[in-house]
C-alpha cells in the first residue's frame, strides 16, 4: 500500500518546553509521594546539616547583642549612663556601644589631665539614678567571704528591662533587700531570713535578675538609705559609681564626645540606636584600636571550619540524593526513550531536586533556628546573660540553604547526565548506567590540588618567614586566608579525584577476599553511587580532623600558657601567718598553725580531700624591712627577720630570647617553657623533701637514680633551662634590693649568696611554680633553715563555691583569723577535652549515614548478583560480608583522605601563626576516626544486613 506521507519534521514544537516541564513537575511530585520513606530519608539527610549550620550561625549571632538589646539590658528605660572612662588624656573617643572602651586615642599620657567626676557632667533637667558597686563580706563559719553589693533603686520604673523581680516582693522597709538567686543558693538563705553582711543585717524579700549579669553571681541589692553612713566600700575604682539619667531629651553624640574629653564615658540610648558614622570614631593622627592578632587567627580558624562545614552540607546533600539516583536513572532513560529531550530530562531532576531540596533546606533552616531559639530561651531562663536574644544569621542561613539546594540539584543532575550521554540501553536494562570515565574531573581535580598545595605551601612559607612576633601578627590575616583557601580547595580537589582514586585503589584486588574484592569492584563500577558517599565521609573527616587539631592545639596552648599554682585541684595553705606591725612599728610575731589541726579541719569540711601533706621550704621572707638595722645595709637575715629569697640562676645563654619590646621571640623555645620559665621566685619555689614530696608536688614519680642523686646532695630541678653541664646555681636574693637584669633589662633582686649544686632534671606533670627540691640534709648543709611552711591539699575534684565557703570557714576556725582564702588550682578548662570526642562522634554519625546509604544501594543493585551467588552455592552470610566490605571501603577511604585533608592544613595553620608553640596532633581521636569508625560502620552494616540471599532473579526497576 502506497500513501503520500508528510516529510519528517524534527524542528522543536511550540509549547513543548512548557508541557515537558509540566510532566517533569508531575513526575517529581508523584515520585516523592510514592516513595515516602526514601523521600523522608533524603529530606532528613539534607535537613540535618543545614539545621546544624543554621543553629550554629544563629547561636553565634545570638551571643552578640543588637543595639536594642544593649539599650534594654544596660539602660532599661533611662536615656544614658555616665561613668568614668579609663583614658590617659582628653583626646580619646569611646566606642558608641560600650562606655568602657576607647576606640581611638593618641595614647599619650597627659600628666596634667584630671578626669572629671561623672556626677559633675550630668546634663541638667534630667532625673538621676545612681548605681554604686559595693564590696561586701559575710561570715561563713569563722571566715569572711566576699560578695557583690549594688546600691541602686533596682525596681524603679526607669530600670524596667534591665532589672526584673523574679520571686518575692519589693522591699518595704530599711531592713528588707533584694538578692540574686546565686546569693541565696550560695549562702543557703531563704527569702524572709536574715542575712548579715559587712554593711549590716538585711532580710532578702525578693530575688532579682540583672539582664546584664548571670543569676549565679552572688549580689545583694541595697537602696541608698540602707548603706550605713561612712561605710567603706573597699578600694573602689573610678568606675564603681555610674549615673543613669532619665528625661525626654536624648543624649547626643556631641555630648558623648564632650564627656569623653573630660574622662567620662556615656552609654546613650539614642547614640546606640543611631550610632555615628565610622569616620567620627577616629581622631586625626590617632591610631584606631587594632584587631589583635589572636582575633585574626580565631577568625581564620572559624573561616576554615565554617567553609568546610558548608562544603559538608553540600556533599551530604549530594550523598543523600544518591539514594534516589539508581531509581531515577532508569526512569529518566524511559523518559528519554519516549522522546524526552535533554532539557526535559534535566527539568525532571531539577523539579525533583527543587521539591525535595527546597523542602529539606527550608525545614533544616527552620529547625536550626528553632533549636537555637530553644537554646537561647533556656539559657536566659536559667539566668545566664551569655546569649542576648534569638538572632538568626540571614547570610549564613541563606548560604547553607543555597549550598544544600545547589547540591541537591547537582546530585540530581548526575543521573540525567548519564542518560544524556546516550547510556540509554544500559540504563534501561538495569537502572545502572556505565561508570563514567571521569577524566575531566580527574584533570580538574589534579589542577585544583596543585593550586591548593601551592596556597598551603605559600601560606606556611609566609607564616614561617617572620621571626619577629610583631611582623607575624601583621601577616596573620594573609597567612590565614591562604591556608583556609588552600584547605577548602584541597577538599574540593580530593572530592573531584575520588572517582579516580576509587578506580586506582580497586584495580589490584585479585588478592583480596571474595567479599572485599566484590565490594571494591562494585564501588569502582558504580562511581556515581560511591563518589558522593566517599566525598561526604571525606568532608566530614576533613572537618573533624581539622577541628581536632585546632582545638587540641588551642587546649595545649592554654596548658602551656596556663600559670599553674600547683597540680590540678591542689590547694596550698601557709602554716605561718604574718601579722600587722605593732603600734611601735616593730614586727609582730607570725601566727603559726598546727598542720594536723589544719588538715583535720579541711578534711572535715570537704569530702573530696585525697590527701594532705606538710610542705617544707627554706625559711620564708619574714618581717623584712622591720626593726632596727632593717635597711639595705643591714644583715639580710636576723633571728626575727629574713629577707633572703632563694632562686635558681639561669646560665648565660639559656635565657628566653625576647624582642626589644620584650615579646617572647619563640614560645616554643625550650628556654621559654616549663616550670619557672616566666614566674617570679617565691617563698616556696625551692622545696625540701624526698621521693614522696616529689610525687605530691610534681605529680611525677622519681626514679631510683634521681632519688639517689637527691640523697647524695644534688638538687632535682624541674626545668633544664636552669641546668648546665649537670649543675645548677642556687642563689639567695636580697628582696630589699632592685637592679636591672644584665640579660634583658628587667628589674631583679641582687644575688647575695651563690651555691653550685649537682643537678638532675625531672620535669613535673605540669609547669608547677617550683625550681626544684633538695633533701633535708642538703638544705641543712646549705643553711637554708628548712621549716614546715605550708599544707598541700590534694582534692579529687574542683570544689564548688559553697564548698570553698565551708572550707574557708573551717580554716579560719583553726587559724584564728579570717581572710585566709582557700583556692584550689582549677587547671585548664576541661570543656574542650571531651569536645574532641564529640567531634569524632559527629564525624562517625555522618560516616555511618553515608556508608549506610551506599551499602543499601549496593545491596539493592546487586540483588540479581546475589541470586547468582545463591545459585552457585554461596552461604547466606556472604551478603553480610558484602555489606560490611562495602561500608568498610566507603568509610575507610573517605576517612583516610579526610584525615589527611584536614590534618595537614590545620597543622600548617597552627605552625604558621602564634599558636605554633602549642601544636598538638590528637593521634588517639584521629586514629579512632580513621580506624575505629570505619570498622564500627562495617560491623554495623554486618549486623543490620539480613543473612539471606535472594533465590530469584526478579527484574529490577519499576
Amino acid at each position: 500500500m502506497s500513501r503520500r506521507r508528510p516529510p519528517l519534521e524534527l524542528a522543536a514544537a511550540r509549547g513543548a518546553r512548557r508541557s515537558s516541564f509540566r510532566i517533569a513537575v508531575r513526575m517529581a511530585r508523584r515520585d516523592i509521594a510514592r516513595h515516602r520513606g526514601r523521600s523522608f530519608l533524603i529530606v532528613l539527610l539534607i535537613m540535618l546539616p543545614v539545621a546544624g549550620m543554621t543553629a550554629a550561625g544563629t547561636l553565634y549571632q545570638s551571643s552578640l547583642r543588637t543595639p536594642q538589646e544593649i539599650v534594654r539590658y544596660e539602660l532599661g528605660n533611662t536615656q544614658a549612663r555616665f561613668v568614668a572612662l579609663p583614658t590617659p588624656n582628653g583626646d580619646s573617643i569611646q566606642d558608641p556601644m560600650n562606655d568602657a572602651y576607647v576606640v581611638s586615642s593618641t595614647g599619650e599620657l597627659d600628666g596634667d589631665f584630671v578626669p572629671t567626676d561623672p556626677k559633675d557632667l550630668l546634663p541638667s533637667g534630667y532625673g538621676v539614678l545612681p548605681l554604686r558597686q559595693l564590696q561586701l563580706t559575710t561570715s561563713v563559719g569563722e571566715a569572711m567571704v566576699p560578695l557583690n553589693g549594688v546600691q541602686v533603686d533596682a525596681l524603679h520604673e526607669a530600670f524596667e528591662g534591665k532589672f526584673a523581680l523574679l520571686d518575692g516582693r519589693a522591699p518595704a522597709n530599711g531592713e528588707e533587700v533584694l538578692a540574686s538567686r546565686g546569693l541565696l543558693e550560695r549562702f543557703d538563705v531563704e527569702l524572709g531570713e536574715q542575712f548579715t553582711t559587712s554593711a549590716g543585717t538585711f532580710v532578702p524579700v525578693g530575688t532579682i535578675r540583672d539582664s546584664d549579669a548571670s543569676d549565679n553571681n552572688s549580689t545583694l541589692y541595697l537602696q541608698s538609705g540602707q548603706v550605713p553612713a561612712g561605710f567603706a566600700p573597699g578600694p573602689a575604682s573610678a568606675q564603681a559609681v555610674s549615673y543613669y539619667v532619665t528625661g525626654p531629651e536624648p543624649v547626643t553624640w556631641q555630648q558623648v564626645r564632650e564627656a569623653n574629653s573630660k574622662g567620662v564615658g556615656v552609654l546613650s540610648r539614642s547614640v546606640v540606636l543611631d550610632p555615628p558614622p565610622p569616620g567620627e570614631l577616629t581622631l586625626p593622627g590617632a591610631m584606631p584600636a587594632g584587631v589583635p592578632s589572636q582575633t585574626v587567627a580565631t577568625y581564620a580558624t572559624f573561616a576554615v571550619v565554617g567553609a568546610l562545614a558548608l562544603l559538608e552540607v553540600g556533599l551530604l546533600a549530594g550523598a543523600a540524593f544518591a539514594v534516589g539516583a539508581k531509581h531515577q536513572v532508569r526512569e529518566l532513560a524511559l523518559l528519554a526513550a519516549s522522546g524526552a529531550e535533554a532539557p526535559t530530562i534535566r527539568s525532571v531532576v531539577t523539579a525533583s531536586g527543587l521539591w525535595l531540596g527546597g523542602l529539606a533546606v527550608t525545614a533544616g533552616a527552620a529547625a536550626g533556628i528553632a533549636v537555637a531559639a530553644g537554646v537561647v530561651w533556656w539559657v536566659r531562663f536559667i539566668g545566664s546573660a551569655r546569649l542576648a536574644g534569638v538572632h538568626p544569621d540571614p547570610l549564613l542561613t541563606s548560604i547553607a540553604m543555597l549550598m544544600g539546594l545547589a547540591a541537591c540539584i547537582l546530585a540530581a543532575l548526575a543521573p540525567a547526565n548519564l542518560v544524556a550521554r546516550q547510556a540509554l540501553r544500559g540504563a534501561l536494562k538495569s537502572g545502572r548506567a556505565p561508570a563514567a570515565g571521569g577524566r575531566r574531573s580527574t584533570i580538574v581535580g589534579a589542577a585544583v590540588l596543585l593550586v591548593a598545595t601551592g596556597l598551603l605551601a605559600a601560606g606556611w612559607a609566609l607564616g614561617s618567614s617572620a621571626k619577629d612576633p610583631d611582623q607575624r601578627a601583621q601577616q596573620a590575616a594573609a597567612v590565614s586566608a591562604m591556608l583556609a583557601g588552600g584547605a577548602v580547595l584541597a577538599v574540593v580537589a580530593l572530592v573531584l579525584l575520588t572517582g579516580w582514586l576509587t578506580a586506582a585503589l580497586t584495580s589490584r584486588t585479585r588478592a583480596m577476599p571474595l567479599a572485599l574484592r566484590m565490594a571494591a569492584r562494585d564501588s569502582a563500577r558504580n562511581r556515581s553511587r560511591t563518589v558522593p558517599a566517599v566525598a561526604a565521609v571525606l568532608a566530614a573527616a576533613t572537618l573533624a580532623s581539622a577541628a581536632l587539631v585546632l582545638s587540641s592545639s588551642q587546649l595545649a596552648g592554654q596548658r602551656l600558657s596556663h600559670s599553674w599554682s600547683a597540680l590540678e585541684n591542689q590547694a596550698y595553705l601557709p602554716l605561718s601567718l604574718a601579722q600587722p606591725p605593732l603600734a611601735d612599728g616593730t614586727a609582730a610575731p607570725a601566727v603559726t598553725v598546727d598542720p594536723q589541726r589544719l588538715s583535720a579541719a579541711v578534711s572535715g569540711a570537704l569530702d573530696s580531700v585525697s590527701w594532705t601533706r606538710t610542705v617544707t621550704t627554706p625559711a620564708p621572707v619574714e618581717n623584712c624591712g622591720f626593726g632596727e638595722g632593717a635597711g639595705p645595709a643591714g644583715p639580710v637575715s636576723t633571728e626575727t627577720s629574713n629577707c633572703l629569697l632563694y632562686a635558681l640562676a639561669r646560665p648565660s645563654g639559656q635565657e628566653c630570647p625576647v624582642t626589644p619590646q620584650r615579646r617572647v621571640v619563640d614560645p616554643d623555645d625550650w628556654r621559654c617553657r616549663g616550670s619557672m620559665a616566666s614566674e617570679q621566685a617565691s617563698d616556696r619555689s625551692i622545696l625540701v623533701g624526698g621521693a614522696e614530696d616529689i610525687r605530691a608536688m610534681f605529680g611525677r614519680d622519681a626514679g631510683a637514680d634521681t632519688i639517689a642523686a637527691l640523697d647524695a646532695g644534688a638538687m632535682v630541678v624541674t626545668n633544664p633551662a636552669f641546668v648546665r653541664d649537670g649543675k645548677t646555681e642556687l642563689q639567695g636574693l636580697d628582696v630589699r634590693t632592685q637592679q636591672p637584669s644584665p640579660s634583658d633589662g628587667s628589674i631583679v633582686h641582687e644575688a647575695v649568696t651563690s651555691t653550685v649544686l649537682e643537678a638532675v632534671i625531672l620535669e613535673p606533670a605540669v609547669a608547677v611554680p617550683y625550681y626544684g627540691i633538695v633533701s633535708p640534709a642538703t638544705a641543712g648543709r646549705l643553711g637554708l633553715a628548712p621549716e614546715a611552711a605550708g599544707l598541700a591539699i590534694q582534692l579529687s575534684r574542683s570544689p564548688s563555691a559553697a564548698e570553698v565557703d565551708a572550707v574557708t570557714g573551717a580554716v579560719a576556725g583553726v587559724v584564728g583569723q579570717s581572710g585566709l582564702g582557700f583556692w584550689a588550682e582549677p587547671g585548664i578548662p576541661k570543656d574542650q577535652a571531651w569536645m574532641g570526642w564529640v567531634i569524632v562522634a559527629i564525624s562517625a554519625l555522618i560516616t555511618f549515614s553515608a556508608a549506610g546509604i551506599t551499602t543499601g544501594l549496593a545491596l539493592a543493585d546487586a540483588r540479581t548478583d546475589h541470586a547468582t551467588l545463591a545459585g552457585v552455592g554461596a552461604a547466606p552470610r556472604l551478603r553480610k560480608a558484602l555489606a560490611a566490605s562495602q561500608a568498610l571501603f566507603t568509610s575507610g577511604l573517605g576517612a583516610v583522605l579526610g584525615a589527611v585533608a584536614g590534618t595537614v592544613p590545620a597543622v600548617l595553620i597552627v605552625a604558621s601563626t602564634e599558636m605554633r608553640a602549642s601544636l598538638e596532633v590528637p593521634w588517639l581521636p584521629l586514629a579512632a576516626m580513621v580506624v575505629a569508625v570505619p570498622l564500627t560502620g562495617s560491623a554495623l552494616a554486618w549486623a543490620f544486613t539480613r543473612s539471606v540471599l535472594p533465590m530469584t532473579r526478579r527484574a529490577l526497576g519499576g
Partner: protein, 245 residues
C-alpha cells in the same frame, strides 16, 4: 546495496556496532544492510547474542552505530543532535520494550500521552489521543491506573499503545510478547499487524516463529550478520532450519 526511496521508512546501510575496546571488544553487528518500507512488517529472528536488540536500538536512535548509517524516512540519524533524536523518537518512532518500561509515576493514559505531551500537545488533547490508543489495544478502562496496579499483559498493551499513539511511521518491538500468555500475545501481534496495514513500518524482534509468521518478511541474524531473509510463511521454522539456526 539498498536504494533509498520515498517508500523506505528505515534503512540501515553497512551498520556495525562494537562494544568495548581492544582485546575485550565485542562486535554486536557487522556490516548490516536492511531496509523496511512503509506498510511492511519485518520480523528479526536469531539466537541470543546475535545482535537483534542492538539492531533495534540503532534503528530507534537509542544507540549510535560504530560505523555505517541509519536512516529514518531518509533522514540520517548520524546528523541529528540529541534533541533532534529525541524528537524523532517521540514523533516518528514507537518503541515497545520486552519488559514494558512504563514510567511508574505516570498513569496508563499519561504514559501513552507522554510522547505527545513532550511534543507540546495540550494535556487534554493528548489525553484524548491516548484514550483512543488504549481503546485500540482493548484496555480503555485502565487509563487511570498506575503500572503497579496492572498485570504484565495489561502493561504491555499500554506500552504498545504508547508506541502507536500519534503519527508513528516506524514501530520497533523488542520481543513484546516475551512475558505474555499466548492469548495476550496473539492480541499484541494483531495490533502490530494492523499498524503495518495502515501504513507504518514495523520491525519485530522475536524468538518465536509463530509470531514471526505475522510478518511480511523475516530477517535472520547470526553473530551480528544477516544470514538470510525471506517472505514469512505460516510456519517459518523451516527457514530457521535452512539457515542452520
Amino acid at each position: 546495496m539498498s536504494v533509498r526511496g520515498p517508500q523506505q521508512v528505515l534503512e540501515l546501510a553497512r551498520v556495525s556496532r562494537t562494544f568495548g575496546e581492544g582485546a575485550t571488544a565485542v562486535a554486536a553487528l557487522r556490516d548490516v544492510d536492511l531496509t523496511i518500507a512503509a506498510g511492511e512488517f519485518v520480523a528479526v529472528m536469531g539466537p541470543s547474542g546475535s545482535g537483534k536488540s542492538s539492531l533495534l536500538a540503532l534503528a530507534g536512535g537509542l544507540d549510535r552505530p560504530t560505523s555505517g548509517g541509519v536512516f529514518v524516512e531518509s533522514t540520517p540519524l548520524a546528523g541529528l543532535g540529541l534533541n533532534e533524536l529525541a524528537r524523532l523518537r517521540r514523533r516518528a518512532v514507537g518503541y515497545v520494550f520486552q519488559d514494558f518500561n512504563l514510567v511508574p509515576t505516570l498513569t496508563a493514559a499519561e504514559n501513552v500521552a507522554l510522547p505527545l505531551e513532550l511534543d507540546g500537545a495540550a494535556a487534554r488533547k493528548a489525553g484524548r489521543q491516548a484514550l483512543d490508543a488504549l481503546r485500540q489495544v482493548g484496555i480503555p478502562e485502565l487509563a487511570d491506573r498506575f503500572m503497579d496496579q496492572m498485570s504484565g499483559g495489561q502493561q504491555q498493551r499500554v506500552a504498545i499503545a504508547r508506541a502507536i499513539v500519534g503519527q508513528r511511521r516506524l514501530i520497533l518491538a523488542d520481543e513484546p510478547t516475551g512475558a505474555l500468555d499466548s492469548t495476550t500475545g496473539h492480541g499484541v501481534m494483531e495490533v502490530l499487524r494492523s499498524r503495518a496495514d495502515s501504513g507504518s513500518a514495523v520491525m519485530l524482534v522475536t524468538h518465536e516463529a509463530r509470531h514471526a509468521a505475522w510478518a511480511d518478511r523475516v530477517v535472520f541474524l547470526r553473530d551480528g550478520r544477516i544470514v538470510d531473509q525471506a517472505a514469512a510463511m505460516h510456519d517459518p521454522t523451516f527457514l530457521l532450519t535452512q539457515a542452520g539456526l
